[in-house]
């Protein structure tokens, strides 16, 4: 039957996705504003709540010590969040699959150790040393993937074993020296904390990105309209993306009053955006979401599930290794405690606080950015307050909880409105 058999054929002028009379859509700019307000009221806030939590945290710390919002401290904050934030990108990917990687801390430490030994002790070029460190990371991830696919051991256990084995390797690689300094003048260290994007370039980049986004969205809107589908009106696209652009410009301005945006920070943000595109806009990313949502359904859809697990574990370790390199470059030294302490916990917590589910299939690369911003803001803000350790721990716990409760409250009301 080639003709649609429904007898109640709706007017053809209405886009295909707006024909169902139960679907209540708001049209145009006014409609978008109205819709946004009604969504806000009913609690469908997207990632706004984490942002509100963040703004609250910032406000409180600013009141307690106005140095918190100084340009200088904000630049520090951007630098501080990069290493663990980078690791968290990989964790997000693993969590999207519904798996976990407990060894990201150790892998970052090992990668730092390989970098330092190669670069300092063996005198390799920074490119070679970084390359090998990343390769080691990827190799570890591949081993995890193979073990997982071959034996079906829970990733919790594989990566727990990995955590220990890799820690052993790290100690072995560092050998007698223990701590290895990277010279402050080396390009690796310079990249991490000394090289900043010139203000003009930063502004240009923001304008370029915003312009490209607007053009892409308008083009997509035209394609949708041509395909007989509803499209976001150009006015809404302009206002929404424009608003985002303004915020970014403001950020560049504030950071620019101190040192500005570091190349490492720019790299981190680029990685987040890239990973987000990879996850949302490619077949591979779609497969990752499918496997995380329902691995059996994905398998039955003909997806090569093993390949997905393998690539994601490899990527997770890759990001962990890259995070380790950033950490080493920032600290200008690598030691046996690199990647230890709470690197693991912070990276996983960042992903979860940013809104990625531990159960797979729900989340986005941006949660790495948002989550690490929350965590580092708390830690940075408390650092300004000279609290007793006991209070510092308690306040950290409390603020963390508060930030997430704000987020969950809105999720809750979203669920009650059936939009979970």
């Amino acid at each position: 039957m080639s003709t649609p058999p429904t007898t109640t054929d709706p007017t053809m002028a209405i886009p295909a996705d707006r024909q169902d009379e139960r679907f209540l859509a708001d049209e145009g700019l006014a409609g978008w504003v109205k819709g946004s307000i009604s969504r806000l009221r009913s609690g469908d806030l997207g990632s706004l709540p984490v942002v509100i939590g963040l703004i609250l945290i910032w406000g409180v710390f600013f009141v307690l010590n106005d140095a918190f919002l100084s340009s200088r401290n904000l630049v520090n904050l951007t630098l501080q969040m990069v290493p663990t934030g980078t690791i968290a990108i990989g964790v997000v990917l693993v969590l999207l699959l519904g798996e976990i990687d407990l060894s990201v801390g150790s892998v970052s430490g090992l990668s730092g150790a390989v970098l330092a030994v190669g670069f300092v002790n063996h005198g390799w070029t920074s490119g070679m040393a970084v390359g090998l460190a990343l390769l080691v990371g990827v190799a570890i991830g591949v081993i995890y993937g193979l073990l997982f696919n071959r034996y079906g051991v829970p990733s919790f256990v594989i990566t727990l074993a990995g955590l220990l084995a890799v820690l052993g390797l790290q100690i072995k690689v560092l050998g007698k020296d223990g701590t290895i300094n990277l010279a402050f003048t080396s390009d690796i260290v310079q990249f991490a904390s000394q090289k900043f994007v010139p203000d003009a370039v930063a502004y240009a980049l923001v304008l370029l990105a915003v312009g490209a986004a607007i053009l892409a969205k308008l083009a997509q809107g035209r394609r949708r309209a041509a395909a007989g589908l509803s499209a976001v009106p150009p006015s809404v696209v302009l206002v929404r993306t424009g608003l985002l652009g303004l915020i970014l410009l403001l950020a560049v301005y504030i950071l620019g009053r101190d040192r500005g945006v570091s190349y490492m920070v720019l790299t981190f943000i680029a990685l987040v955006v890239l990973t987000d595109l990879l996850v949302r806009r490619t077949r591979w990313g779609r497969s990752v979401m499918a496997v995380g949502g329902n691995v059996e359904a994905a398998r039955r859809a003909g997806i090569n599930v093993k390949r997905i697990y393998l690539t994601v574990f490899a990527l997770s370790s890759f990001f962990a290794a890259l995070g380790g390199i950033f950490a080493a470059a920032r600290l200008a030294s690598v030691s046996q405690s690199s990647g230890g302490a709470d690197t693991n916990l912070n990276a996983i917590a960042a992903a979860v606080i940013g809104g990625t589910s531990l159960f797979g299939g729900r989340g986005s690369a941006y949660s790495a950015l948002l989550g690490i911003l929350v965590i580092q803001s708390i830690s940075n803000g408390l650092g300004l307050l000279s609290l007793d350790t006991s209070y510092r721990f308690m306040v950290t716990g409390g603020v963390l909880l508060l930030a997430v409760i704000i987020d969950s409250l809105s999720r809750r009301s979203r669920a009650a409105h059936g939009r979970a």
């Binding site: 140095a67 630098l79 223990g178 230890g340 580092q376 350790t389």
Partner: protein, 358 residues
Amino acid sequence: ACGTNSGTSTTSAAGGASSSAGTTSAATDTASSGGGSAAGGKIALLLPESKTTRYESFDRPLFEAAVKADCADCEVLYSNADQDAAKQQQQAEAALTQGAKVLVLDAVDGKSAQTIVANAKSQGVKVIAYDRFVAGSDYYISFDNKKVGELQGTGLVDALKAAGKTSGDIVMINGSPTDANAADFKAGAHSVLDKSGYKIAAEYDTPDWSPDKAQAWMESQLSAVKSGLVGVYAANDGTAGGAIAALKGGGVSPLPPVTGQDAELAAIQRILAGDQALTIYKAIKPEAEGAAQAAIALATGQTPATSADKEGVPATLLEPIVVTKDNIMDTIIKDGFYKAADICTGDYASACTAAGIK
């Protein structure tokens, strides 16, 4: 990971009395695992953690070599507790199971290690408190670590004076809040700095002795302490590294003096480069050799030589040394702790020449 496990000693002796209270139910031990048929027998070396290089790079090999040299049929059992007191207790139990005659114990927590001592005593095994004092032990060898914090404080004040700063703000980066020993360094440093005339603007207990945490905190201080930062007390070389990275990253120039501890290779290099003011060097070789000799003596039923007494425990106390650019040659290199070639790699070669190190 602290490099600061340099014996803390001032724990109260309150628990000491109870150390003899271990019941004798273990005396019925029938473990067949042959304890000391040889003249020497087994000596257990129990070290506290693995995140600092000194233990496996220096203490263990030096100790084993010294035992081998003096007692060919002695066997050294080794374990490392990863900074976990319960794990150390377990390792001590394993050593006793294997029939060790002497435990050389570098305690994770000097106070809670009294359990280990009591357990060993109930089986007639001797305990040497190595590097960290444990009440009730049979012998104690360590540096006069009461002074470490004080030396750090004094060193910092001297460096400040040398730089012509008579007043200003100091920040303190202490050791781990959950490490019983860190508190002692902190106290020692305070005893000097509090009355030095400088203002302690802020102070931070670094979780896990983590260099990155020290770096992040130091960075925030650069925003908070807007002016007048003249010196940084860092409890060990790891945290010192973090602080220096923060100062350099923040564009502070010239760097204020920064202290340290442990004489890590990386710290020596920083001192040469002028980034770090000083570190505390504890000559491990005499300590390890002294412990080895005492262990052999106790294993064979003799009394080890002593030079001091600590809360009733015969002791040998060694002196920690402040290392600055000026005395690297006379201390570390002279002792063979590092070779000049280890230190004077790549970027540091010129600094070495300038400091007369070869």
